[in-house]
């Protein structure tokens, strides 16, 4: 039901009335999958960054006498084909993958918000120019274009983050542009203009706060997309290069042993899947909290 109906219903039933922001927060906490996912996601990220310290082994300690061991107390995930501890390697790989994803999210959001706001607010040729660029980037197959740039610049985590941002800012820009265009025609903006407020101030103070919600949802999607792209490119050998481990290139490196120990080879992939799953639930919860009109199951 819409906000207004809910507010009225609450009044009718004698319950205390809440501000729209509080309503959103309350709705978010009612969304159980989102809360559980948030919790598990935080747990997973903490594990990536800190759990590795629990083990005595380093990520590159080779020991060919202990190849492809099954999981044990010493090696919770077992060892890979040259005896390195898979637990520490996977945790470190997760760390780098998450780092890349977060960097991408930050950079892409920054660029996308600025360009999207400019396009949406000023309109006309500025909008056309930026929109054409966005359209072009969105139409061509992402992986192919990314592969070209990643192969050259994406060997390091930061480099890959830059390459991915160069493509992914477009989605945020489109969303921001849409919201800005929607709000700039509203009367409170006209009122601000009438009092002589400068464009920058109008955008930042009056329009952007309304954008925050949609952007937050897009950021969750972006994080998921970034980590999938990173792991895919690294899996193909075009992304982050060894010895730096990421969830993608860990699989790439151990691909040969897939017939002998398939689960262990795929293990980093499972982490990617869970990360994206949790992030998607989170995004769903956020979207529901911010726009209750969207029917959820």
């Amino acid at each position: 039901m819409t906000d207004l109906v809910e507010v009225n219903l609450r009044e009718g039933l004698g319950k205390e009335s809440l501000s729209l922001g509080r309503l959103a927060l309350r709705r978010f906490f009612r969304h159980r999958p989102a809360i559980v996912s948030l919790f598990l996601l935080v747990l997973m990220i903490l594990a990536f960054f800190f759990a590795g310290r629990l083990s005595n082994y380093t990520f590159d300690a080779v020991d060919v006498t202990k190849r492809l061991e099954s999981p044990s107390l010493l090696h919770p995930f077992g060892t890979d084909e040259i005896g390195r501890d898979l637990f520490v390697r996977t945790m470190l790989g997760g760390q780098y993958s998450v780092r890349v994803a977060l960097q991408v999210a930050l950079l892409a959001t920054a660029i996308g918000t600025i360009l999207g706001a400019i396009a949406g607010y000023f309109g006309r040729w500025v909008d056309t120019a930026i929109s054409q660029v966005i359209n072009l980037i969105l139409i061509v197959p992402a992986l192919i274009v990314l592969a070209v740039f990643a192969q050259r610049f994406g060997g390091s985590p930061v480099g890959l983050a830059l390459v991915l941002s160069g493509l992914l800012w477009t989605r945020i820009a489109r969303v921001v542009r849409g919201v800005v265009m929607q709000y700039k025609e509203q009367e409170f903006v006209l009122a601000a203009k009438a009092v002589g407020a400068k464009p920058v101030r109008i955008v930042m103070r009056h329009i952007l706060p309304n954008v925050v919600g949609s952007v937050l949802v897009e950021i969750t999607l972006l994080l998921g997309t970034a980590i999938v792209l990173e792991s895919t490119l690294s899996f193909l050998g075009l992304g982050v290069q060894p010895p730096i481990p990421t969830l993608g290139n860990l699989i790439q490196q151990s691909k040969g042993a897939i017939d002998d120990a398939p689960l262990r080879v795929l293990l980093p992939g499972f982490f990617v899947v869970f990360f994206v799953l949790f992030i998607n639930f989170l995004g769903d919860g956020l979207r529901d909290a911010l726009d209750p009109r969207s029917k959820r199951q």
């Binding site: 072009l136 197959p141 992986l143 193909l236 199951q297």
Partner: protein, 318 residues
Amino acid sequence: MLTYVVRRVLSTVPLLIGAMYLVHVGVSATSDPLASLRLCLPRCQEGYDRIVEIYELDQSIWVRPFAWFDDALRGDFGKSEAIGESVASVLVERGLNTAMVAIPAFLVSALLAVFLSVYSSRRQYSKTDYALTGFSFLGLALPTFFVGLVLQVFWGVWFPKWTGFKPFYTGSMRTESPLELLQSITLPVLTLVIVSVAAESRFGRANMLEIISSDYVRTARAKGLSERQVIWKHALRNAMIPLVTLWALDFAALLGGSVITETIFSWPGLGPAFVIALTKPDLDLVMGITILTALIAIIFNLIADLLYGWLDPRIRLD
């Protein structure tokens, strides 16, 4: 309608040319065919000079695309250093192989998505609906390479181990007989279908649900039309409009996904060729493949735009 078509086609041409130009500059900027040769100078000066000549490396990066255009219009896309044949023939041969996987995958996932969306939206809140929604939600979180690997492990390692026979080929393309072709094509196609259907049916279902509760659907029911007419004529016609755009975008994604699946299943399409060409670097081949995929994506987008105009009369009269 005709003016709409002409308008859209004309506005796509500069996009095509611009895309090709940028792709050329981009590929030139990111590859360095002289990398390995620099180390052996001055011994291999001859080879060095030959490479400079072939790729016009002495010219500015912004000028080189014109030479490429010039050659391309005459049908000469250069020679693949890695494979030793003309780029054009590589594109055709491998392109067909890729099409063999990409086109069935596209058709199957599009049809499946439509049916799942209709079915799901009609039976909202039922157990089947929850199951299907759950699967598609899960599917969204699965990277293509993961799906491919899991399928490869399951059908290539575990299933044979448990049952002693292997119904699908997991690492090659067999064309000896239609049956063999089917056996080798199934897993790559299935991988792509799983990933596409997840996203498409999720969107399609949400879209259908919204449409089913719209006023004009209510009017259709108030006219006494059968449920089948209401859903398949009134609702679906409107639901297709945004779905068509999604399909166009998805086809582009499918091309990217093909790179991954072909690599995993050792399918001799454009994918593995692309990856190898990148690492060499085989400039002409990288150029050829990148531009080809970009062109296909842009053209599909144009087709989607035209279909959109055909399906939604409000757009045409803009």
